[in-house]
Amino acid sequence: MSEAVDPVGNGAAQISVSQPAGTPMIEVTDLVKHFPIRSGVFIKRTIGHVKAVDGVSFAVHKGQTVALVGESGCGKSTTARAILRLIEPTSGRVELDGVDVTKLGKEKLRQARRDMQIIFQDPYASLNPRMTIRQILSEKYQLMGVAIKKSTISDLLDTVGLAEEYADRYPHEFSGGQRQRIGIARAIALNPKFVVLDEPVSALDVSIQAQIVNLLEDLQDELGLTYLFIAHDLSVVRHISDRVAVMYLGGIVEIADRDELFDRPHHPYTQALISAVPIPDPKLERIRETIVLRGDVPNPANPPSGCRFRTRCWKFEQLSEGERQRCIDERPALNPVSGSGHRAACHYAAVREVVRA
């Protein structure tokens, strides 16, 4: 294991060491996305930056699922969109199956998009209401210059569990779960290697969520898909992912294999996040402790110095004056805390059991 401490706090190269052999399907290194804040009426001047994504590194291996979790504004969706270059990253490198996506020209990028797709949270907003399902799905092939057979669309619908007769209907004729199936069909139409799932079940009714989660897992097995799963619902994350990265204010604060992260979380934010998720088990809830954080997430245009979580950290409050100074002065690196690539960005990282008690 070459789990050396790296000064910047971004350990993509080291993380991959503990993963199954072979090169990762997607490797993100030091990804940065800053949005300028402009002011002025005639002459726009940049007066600052919102550091939405501020140095994020991780890798996803072929056929695996990495979940990126965190609260609204933590930068998880921006990270996903920057990986796909739906927004241009400020800096950093994204390798898809060994090819650096960030350096591709317009036409090459268009071709590369065949291999990387996204499924959005709101399937209604992402389907054109004036096109039939057949048109929506056929457009995909036409744009990429791929010929379609008579059976292509019906086969595709069958794959996502929709009857062929639905092909000539419009999006408004479908329920939320069915629309999400159409969104999935569109994403997998051209046999991509890598799919971003951006909150794919959050907008769905509880009884429908399990249907879609199962479908996504079946497709992963059948087609060998690699997933980046963006979510705030940690219950679904625990079910679907192999590895989990927790983000706070633009940076990864903890990353580990799924069971390791839920059973042995080291970062105080991860611990608070997991403890705040209510479990549908009343007897367990009565004995379980919830770590209630103070206040709100700070403004990402003006993040706190040192550790960005310190203004809301429950552990910071328990530290001595001298210990606190370190949190204020020094931004903690994403350092290894135990084997199998478990890393946490906290000067005082330590296990705290939060799922069971």
């Binding site: 609260e71 009884s207 989660v213 897992e217 219950s235 625990r238 209510p278 088990d281 009343p282």
Partner: protein, 348 residues
């Protein structure tokens, strides 16, 4: 502080605090009659949290809005039912008296505080207005009360926040401001319609902790309307499960979670991904989709999606009947089979 006595309304303190009896709320539309609420009865007492659980279109919000008189008629019709506050019928009461009770004895918290707060008035003025609507106090006193309330719901720098507009508040702060407004007149019943659905989990934990504390301090009854079974497990005393406009199962929180006797409740609990479980092989979904309320299937509305369904389920709407103990009710022909299937599930 305001009490029921000076309302000139004759309330019976021995009657249940809030009772809904056989309520039906129907809407006549081009596509037929939408039976949003179709024969729903429940009650809640002081200090108690009753959860109403259901998916979108189950009628859970409409019943709460009817209590507050927020459902306009027309288009709505109320073919049957009544709502009682301490034994006094709200639906037979003149509008003027209803208005006295609304916001005073019964208050509501909505899912989306940004649409529920008026964007062009300062938060403090909106809370003070709520106070002055129901109490004969001066503007100065009302403002002081608004200040105290903002502090009580945990808003830092309440004196500054009082003079700010809703857009200057974060999502969690707005929800706190709305709770402050709901508490302005010390209501006995708080209707909370998905109070934390729009919030992040760490903020959800803050808001739920606040509601628990307020309930302990004031002995308020809370009606918690939600689809989130996790929030329900940790906060409800009793639960009504709704499906297609009807209550299909009612019981204590432990009865609903550990001894479900309706196939829909059982299906919901079986389909959940659990954060405290190591990976299950596959989730067990409920097949199909919830019905349109304009076209509810005959008999048990859940039968097309039910793995226990037989012909008996199509013939008539099952009645809500006692299945165990006192007050555990289920409207399911196959409640015994559901009970057995649940024992197998828990044994695994």
């Amino acid at each position: 502080m305001a009490s029921v006595d000076d309302l000139d309304i004759d309330l019976d303190s021995s009657a249940p605090l809030l009772e809904v009896r056989d309520l039906r709320v129907h809407f006549v539309t081009d596509r037929g009659v939408v039976k949003a609420v179709d024969g729903v009865s429940w009650m809640v007492n002081e200090g108690e949290t009753l959860a109403i659980v259901g998916e979108s279109g189950s009628g859970k919000s409409v019943s709460a809005m009817t209590i507050l008189g927020l459902i306009q008629s027309p288009p709505a019709t109320f073919p049957s039912g009544d709502i009682f506050l301490r034994g006094k019928s709200l639906m037979k009461m003149p509008e003027k008296q209803q208005r006295k009770l609304r916001g005073r004895e019964i208050a509501m918290i909505f899912q989306d505080p940004l649409t529920a707060l008026n964007p062009v008035f300062r938060v403090g003025d909106q809370i003070a207005e709520m106070v002055r609507n129901h109490q004969k106090v001066s503007k100065v006193v009302a403002r002081r009360r608004a200040l105290d309330l903002l502090g009580e719901v945990g808003i830092p720098n309440p004196a500054v926040r009082l003079n700010q507009y809703p857009h200057e508040f974060s999502g969690g702060m707005r929800q706190r401001a709305m709770i402050a407004m709901a508490l302005a007149n010390d209501p006995q019943v708080l209707l909370a319609d998905e109070p934390t659905t729009a919030l992040d989990v760490t903020v959800q934990a803050q808001i739920m902790a606040l509601l628990v504390k307020l309930q302990e301090d004031r002995n308020t009854a809370i009606v918690l309307i939600t689809h989130d079974l996790g929030v329900v497990a940790s906060h409800a005393d009793r639960i009504n499960v709704m499906y297609a406009g009807r209550i299909v199962e009612a019981g204590t929180t432990d009865e609903i979670f550990y001894e479900p006797r309706h196939a829909y409740t059982f299906g919901l609990l079986s389909s959940l991904a659990r954060m405290d479980h190591r990976r299950q092989e596959r989730l067990t979904p409920i097949k199909g989709v919830p019905p349109s309320l304009a076209n509810v299937p005959p008999g048990c509305p859940f039968h097309p999606r039910c793995r226990f369904a037989t012909e008996a389920c199509v013939v008539a709407v099952p009645r809500l009947e006692t299945v165990s103990g006192n007050g555990h009710l289920a409207a399911c022909v196959h409640s015994d089979q559901v009970g057995m299937a649940n024992e197998e599930r828990l044994a695994q």
